[in-house]
């Protein structure tokens, strides 16, 4: 059954449909929220809030975007809002754009030597917005237009964040591999 149909059943008060929707998206949302919010309990609370909002606002979904884009934008907004309240110093989006591009140029060594563990470690050290963009690009396989809609920012900002995320990954891996 299509997401839109499930959402319309949820709008009609069908709890079974909500469970189906939850099972479709819960782990993907968790992964996305965890990329910004490492604490398990906080992430679980945000997931709960997201699905409660789906329950209450399913009827207001107007199909201007994909259901998944709508859902991830609720998750993004709630996560950012939570971070704003709990860790205001950790959330300077503009600061993220001003990272110096001093990543190493030699890629061939990095590609050959990096291990999955090292890459995972580096992903975890990325700034929250960089992690989010990387998750949405490579795991959710969304377009930069959809990501911009979710993160409520210009499309160019998405591309720039992705670029800086890649540069930060290079830098981190370069350091881990002892300056290859």
């Amino acid at each position: 059954m299509e997401d839109v149909q499930v959402l319309s059943m949820i709008a009609g008060g069908d709890q079974q449909a909500l469970a189906e929707f939850y099972n479709r998206y819960e782990s993907r949302l968790y992964r996305f929220i965890k990329s910004k919010l490492p604490d398990y309990f906080e992430a679980a609370d945000i997931i709960n809030e997201v699905f409660l909002e789906v329950w209450h606002k399913a009827a207001s979904f107007q199909q201007r975007s994909k259901v998944s884009t709508w859902l991830f934008s609720i998750a993004y907004f709630k996560t950012v809002d939570h971070l704003r309240k709990t860790r205001p110093d950790n959330l300077s989006a503009e600061q993220l754009e001003s990272i110096e591009d001093d990543a190493p140029a030699a890629l061939s060594g990095l590609i050959q030597q990096q291990t999955a563990d090292q890459v995972h470690h580096c992903i975890e050290t990325l700034k929250p917005d960089h992690q989010s963009v990387m998750q949405l690009t490579f795991f959710e396989e969304l377009s930069y237009k959809e990501i911009a809609e979710i993160m409520q920012c210009p499309e160019n900002t998405v591309k720039t964040r992705m670029f800086h995320a890649k540069q930060a990954m290079k830098k981190c891996l370069h350091r881990l591999l002892g300056g290859v």
Partner: protein, 195 residues
């Protein structure tokens, strides 16, 4: 159309070329640039590696899963119950308000004192002649047994229970008769004549 994408911009599009979400024009421009640039192909290979590792990356702790769903369902049901109760109590509150308004209106009519008659008729001196006792019932006594005793004595509870379980009972029987009846009853623990 493809000429409009600058070479610098191509690198920004590479991640989205990789995830297959570019428009046809953008895709064509990226592929042309890739053919001509070794550095760009290296960038793409690096991103491919990152993409593969991102996909295989599992957060250290599993998602809330079933527990999270149960929590959500509990919350939704509890909200629904609260909303139902609120509606019910809203009606009760409206009814109580209407009753109060009606009562206030009736009182506000300032009727003559003749209208105020006790439901049992005009006051007499009978009440003054009633005998009153302070009674303690057996804690295990049932409401039915107390009611039966009161009916036998033609008595009424006019006060109580107090904090320690004492009742004030009045009856029209004579002091002696009432005292004997109360003392002989098994559910009465103690009796004290008040007047």
């Amino acid at each position: 159309m493809t000429e409009q994408i600058s070479p610098e911009h191509i690198e920004f599009l590479l991640p989205f070329y990789l995830n297959g979400t570019l428009s046809d024009d953008e895709k064509e421009a990226v592929e042309e640039a890739l053919e001509q640039s070794v550095a760009l192909r290296e960038e793409l290979a690096f991103l491919q590696q990152i993409q593969s590792d991102v996909k295989s990356y599992e957060p250290a702790q599993a998602s809330p899963g079933e527990l999270g769903l149960k929590r959500l369902q509990r919350q939704i049901n509890s909200q629904a119950n609260t909303a139902g109760n609120t509606t019910k109590w809203r009606f009760v509150a409206i009814a109580a308000t209407c009753l109060l308004v009606l009562q206030t209106t009736l009182i506000g009519l300032s009727p003559s004192t003749e209208l105020y008659l006790p439901a049992g008729g005009k006051p007499t001196t009978i009440a003054v002649n009633k005998t009153m006792f302070r009674v303690a019932f057996d804690p295990m006594a049932t409401e039915a047994s107390i009611r039966s005793l009161l009916l036998d004595l033609d008595a009424q509870i006019i006060e109580g229970p107090s904090a320690i379980g004492l009742y004030v009972v009045s009856t029209e029987q004579t002091e002696e008769d009432a005292l004997n009846s109360l003392q002989s009853h098994t559910i009465v623990e103690s009796v004290q004549i008040i007047k």
